[in-house]
Symmetry: C2
Subunit: 266 residues, 2 copies
Amino acid sequence: MKLSDAQLKEFDELGYLFLPGCFSPEEVAVLCDEAERIYASQRQEVWREKTGAPRTAFAAHTYNEAFRLLGSHPRLIEPLEQVFGEQLYMHQFKINAKAAFEGDVWQWHQDYGTWARDDGMPEPRAMNIAVFMDEVMPINGPLMIIPKSHKHGTLAAAHDLETTSYPLWTLDKATVTELVAEGGIVAPTGKPGAVLMFHGNIVHGSAGNITPYPRRIVYLTLNAVSNHIRKPTRPEWIAHRDFAPIEPVDDDALLRYARSYKMAAE
Amino acid sequence: MKLSDAQLKEFDELGYLFLPGCFSPEEVAVLCDEAERIYASQRQEVWREKTGAPRTAFAAHTYNEAFRLLGSHPRLIEPLEQVFGEQLYMHQFKINAKAAFEGDVWQWHQDYGTWARDDGMPEPRAMNIAVFMDEVMPINGPLMIIPKSHKHGTLAAAHDLETTSYPLWTLDKATVTELVAEGGIVAPTGKPGAVLMFHGNIVHGSAGNITPYPRRIVYLTLNAVSNHIRKPTRPEWIAHRDFAPIEPVDDDALLRYARSYKMAAE
């Protein structure tokens, strides 16, 4: 999947790009089934909310076939290779749950702030590309983005160890207020299978989810190979040390797996 | 202000009615100014979030002129007199802040559940009518309503003393899931000055607000005089004991006050 010049320009200006309908219902269904199996397991890679509900599962592409195929999928890898002009490796991979009723807040932050401070990543030449596994609605804790905030570089942040179960370098209210006055807030919503890519310095967050609608999103953090991390402090399954370039699978690889999976279940 | 037959029918079927544009920007401005003065005061009627941000201010109609006029306003009193077919008194009056960045969740609940259990109110012949003081957006913690849930009477609930600073009789996940499967969820949004009335047994809640946009709403809880509470357990400023019928002020009373207030400030 290749981005058009207009899309690349939009991404440069706003710091994000929303691409509905990238994955089919069949492809998404197998990811949802497998995510539930992973959340139910007792692996160290599965982090939980203070209530015990799943919050995020790391590194599923290393131990689950469906997510391995997603982690090398050309519809995700190619657009980011276009932006960075080189091959990529997987810096982080996670399935965020934002569980029905219990999904907790993610305070306002820049991803690159954490990658730089905690992992020793030299430049913001990495970014997240997300796949919606459930319908993301205004009411179930959508990701909120401050457009254009990526133009401000890496902003001062404080290490929040209190608010949720996940440590995060978060921005203060004055900074967020200023950025929102300039760029507003967007909360892309849409059906399962939509893809959202956003710059490593874009400021984003999400509120809690008190609805009965889960809001699962897979995040691939892809880093330019030349920009590999230099001073990791977090476990290998949170900030990977395998810097080998990803070779994309065939475009129909996940679909074929979904069909064989379904046949095996019948 | 009188409701049409179609509006009364809609209210009966869905359990709520949303009426944009009921109060003018001039009228809302004086309420906002006065709300900030009240939140900044150290009165016992002002409750705070765990962070210290204001959560709600009770009984402002008893100690503030602008809110006294709002609490007797014909645009709020008359529609509810129509529904109940008799005169009303003020059971509770509060200004909910849902403060920027810090506004916390209100878990799913029915108001009448609390009025019955804590105040000894005989029947659900009371209800809330709300006035938006800020723009209510999908992203700043709008009130979420489960349409038609008022048809189920008073549902079993548990007393939640943990989640927030405010004790509340809340519903369990299975009940909410069933009700949402039937009625869905609506989150009425709109400009300051909009009015939202909802049945005492409608199930509703709201998520937290992490945006820089405050979301203040005034709630009048109006009770039919014949349905006055019998066994109050909460302080007088939370569940009033003055059952005298409200005599509505003139329709322009708040506007005139807003203009004199502005002149005094100049």
